[in-house]
C-alpha cells in the first residue's frame, strides 16, 4: 500500500502539484510509528496555520499573517511540500511589505496548496501505523 502511495505521489509530483515532497523519503527513513506521529503533527500544524493565515489576511492583520505564513512555510519545509512552501513564503513577503493585493493572491495560492498538501498527508496517514 505504501509503495502505491509513493507511486501516486510521484505521479502527482510529475504534474507539478507536489514536486519536492519528502514524504516517500521520510517513509523510507523513519519507523512507521514515527512517520505517523510526524505526519499527524504536520497535518495539524498546516491545517491550523493556513486557517489563521486566511483569517489574519482577511482582517488586514499583516504582522499576524506574516507570522502564520512563516510557521506554515516551516512546517511544509521539513515535509518537503514545495508548492506550499513557495506559496507561504510569498504570503510572508507580501505581509511583510504590507502589499494587501499581493497578500490576497498569495493567500489564495497558499490555501490551494495547503488543501493539496493536507489531502496528500491524509492519504499517507491512512496508510501509516499509529505509534504504539
Amino acid at each position: 500500500m505504501r509503495s502505491a502511495i509513493a507511486k501516486a505521489t510521484t505521479a502527482v509530483g510529475a504534474s507539478g502539484h507536489t514536486a519536492g515532497s519528502f514524504l516517500p523519503d521520510l517513509a523510507a527513513m523513519l519507523p512507521p510509528g514515527s512517520l505517523h506521529a510526524l505526519l499527524k503533527t504536520g497535518r495539524a500544524q498546516i491545517d491550523g496555520e493556513i486557517g489563521a493565515l486566511v483569517r489574519a489576511a482577511a482582517a488586514g492583520r499583516e504582522p499576524e499573517a506574516q507570522r502564520c505564513a512563516h510557521r506554515l512555510a516551516g512546517s511544509a519545509g521539513v515535509l518537503g511540500l514545495g508548492r506550499l512552501v513557495a506559496a507561504a513564503r510569498a504570503a510572508e513577503a507580501a505581509a511583510t511589505s504590507g502589499d494587501r493585493s499581493a497578500l490576497g493572491s498569495a493567500v489564495d495560492e497558499a490555501r490551494s496548496a495547503a488543501d493539496e498538501a493536507l489531502a496528500e498527508l491524509g492519504r499517507w496517514l491512512a496508510d501509516s501505523d499509529e505509534p504504539t
Binding site: L30, Q45, R71, A73, S75, G77, V78, L79
Partner: protein, 259 residues
Amino acid sequence: MTGAIHGSGSRHVNLRPRILAVDDDPTARLFIALTLSPLAVDVYVTATCREFRAMSDSMAADLYLIDIELPDGDGFLMAEALRARCATPMIFLSVHGDDGHRLRALELGAMEYLSKPIHPREFSLRIQNILTSLRGHGAGAAIAATASQPTPPLIRRFRGLTLDVSRRRLTDDGGRDMGLTAAEFEVLALLTGEPQRVVTRAQFAQRLGPQSAARYNTRIVDILVWRLRKKLQRVSGLGQFIATVPSRGYMFVEPLSPE
C-alpha cells in the same frame, strides 16, 4: 515545549554527543528529533529563546541547532550572546534562504546554514558529518562527559594556594593575589575542576571562547599553560601541578585539599 529524545545505541550516556535545538514549529521539532535519533546522539528540543537559554545554561551541548525567527526573540541575537561566552558549534536551520541570512549566520561563526525545505537524509548526513568532525578534534564525547560529572567545588585548595572560582582569584596562603590573567584563570579553573583527568584542547577552546575555538589547533593553550606553570613555580616552588599528556591535552595532577 522542551524534551530530550535519546537516540538508539548503547547507554553510555557520557559518550553520546548532545544536540540542543530550538525551533518554534512543532513539526520541525519532531522532524529534528526523529531524523537525528538514529545517530546515537541525545537531542534536546526547545520551542523558545527562553527555553533554549535555560537549557544551554544548565547543560553542556556539543552542537546547537538554531531557528532564526522565534516567538520571543531573534535566533541570531541569541546566538551572538551565546558566542560571547562559549564556542559550541552552531548550525542555523531556517525557512529564509536568502544571502543576507546566510551571510549573517556565517559571520556569527555558524558551521552550516540549512534552509528549509531540506531533504531529511541530507539534514541527517550533514549533522552526522559535523559530529564526526567534532569527534576527530576530541570534542563531543569529552564535553558531554564533563557535563555528566558532579559540579566541582568553587573553592579549590592545593599546596597552600586557594583558587576561588566565584571571585576568579588565585591567592597564596598569605592571601596575596597571584595576578592571573582572565585566560590563565580559565585554564586553571578548568584543570582544577577535573583533577587527575585529561582536559583536551577542544575543552579548553570551549571554555576560552570563539577566538580560541577558531585557533585551538595552534599553540595558544600551550602558551597559557606555560605562563601558568611559571607563575605557580614562582610562588609555590612547584611548577609541575600541570602535566602534559602527549597528543591529548593537560592534566592537573596535584590532589585538591579537602575543604
